[in-house]
Subunit: 212 residues, 2 copies
Amino acid sequence: MTVALKKPPRSARKPKGDGHMRRGEILAAAEKIFIAEGYAGATIRKIADAVGVSSTALYMHFRDKDQILLEIGKEAIEKLLSINVALSQEPIDAVEKVRRMLDAYMRFAFENPNTYQLVFCGSNEAISIEKQQAVSDLGDRCFDEFSGPIREIAAAGRLKTGTAESAAQVLWAACHGIVSLVITKPSRSWAPAEELMQVTLDGVMHGLIADR
Amino acid sequence: MTVALKKPPRSARKPKGDGHMRRGEILAAAEKIFIAEGYAGATIRKIADAVGVSSTALYMHFRDKDQILLEIGKEAIEKLLSINVALSQEPIDAVEKVRRMLDAYMRFAFENPNTYQLVFCGSNEAISIEKQQAVSDLGDRCFDEFSGPIREIAAAGRLKTGTAESAAQVLWAACHGIVSLVITKPSRSWAPAEELMQVTLDGVMHGLIADR
DNA sequence: GGGCCTGGGTGATTCCCGTTTAGTGTCAGG
DNA sequence: CCTGACACTAAACGGGAATCACCCAGGCCC
């Protein structure tokens, strides 16, 4: 009474997947779904179906759902970090560095809205602080890279208000504010994104940093 | 808890019955739980238990969970709106109005973090745009109240950059940025909230609005 | 009074979700 | 030829939101 092939709809199931290969497949599928449908839309079952394995199989490679999606976030932040590292090594004025970093940050957010939300908007409320550690650490390094030039500017006495610490946080927050609002409230009528970025950048830079 | 809230059949004839009472009870219980445990923590079952009623009963008074919580958000925004209305009628400089509105906004956020997140952080991404309409409309009126003074400032030619529309959005966003980051990422080491508010306000006001 | 509608309320049920358990088949190596 | 690790699976669990098919008390109108 062997039950032969009772599940035809499992299309082209991959019989073998050795080790880290499968892990990559899962991440790729998860990313695609997550980008298209957001955190809640990217369910374990959907991801598993896309890969062509059972939902249980995902737990071979990841501790839980959050870890899968945070891994995606991690990779995204790594891109951001590399941009910041590259910029911080260019031979340009610290103020210009700051401006370009913030500009890159906002563009990144607009280009990867779901990923941005996952990492920076506490979007899902349920991911414990512990689980976020890896991503959080990367975020810190990102922020460190950014606050380097700010400290330079502060040391040069060109900060109009606040300390290097608070100024860096406020600059970052202003950019986060505009992108997060536009991303999470797309139904509101916003000025064009380019204009919003420009005004944010101009306003906040001139407001916090003295012209030479 | 004994069933003490039984209604004696007084009130000969009420067109809508005592539906208001239950509705109010539900909202009160929901708000308490929601403030303490956030969106995910405030489950239908918990709210129903707190009221002393079956979970199904909540659907007599509200279409779904989101509507309950958005109702809470609505009440919160109404407070914010009344602050803005009051400020906009005071006989003070438009710039001062803007400053005080933003200050009140940030303080409101810090004092009601869960409510703020619910309404302004798209925190759960699952609430459809339609459902948010009521809250969204209130938010719009709030924003209108805020952009009145901004338009005055723009008309007086005191806007350093952007239009009245984009400047208002950017000012709002800067304040949203700092409070939303501090609220949703409490594990990061932040400068004191007072300092962050001060620096944000100073920076963004000086950056966008010309001194007289 | 007797029928009848109405509206708040209920327990059981449905459908997903993330996650766990108990296994199955395969294969490398001693 | 056994053994154990490995990649994987079906089935189930517990808990969410939401719906279903009912109850039952009261007001209304002959």
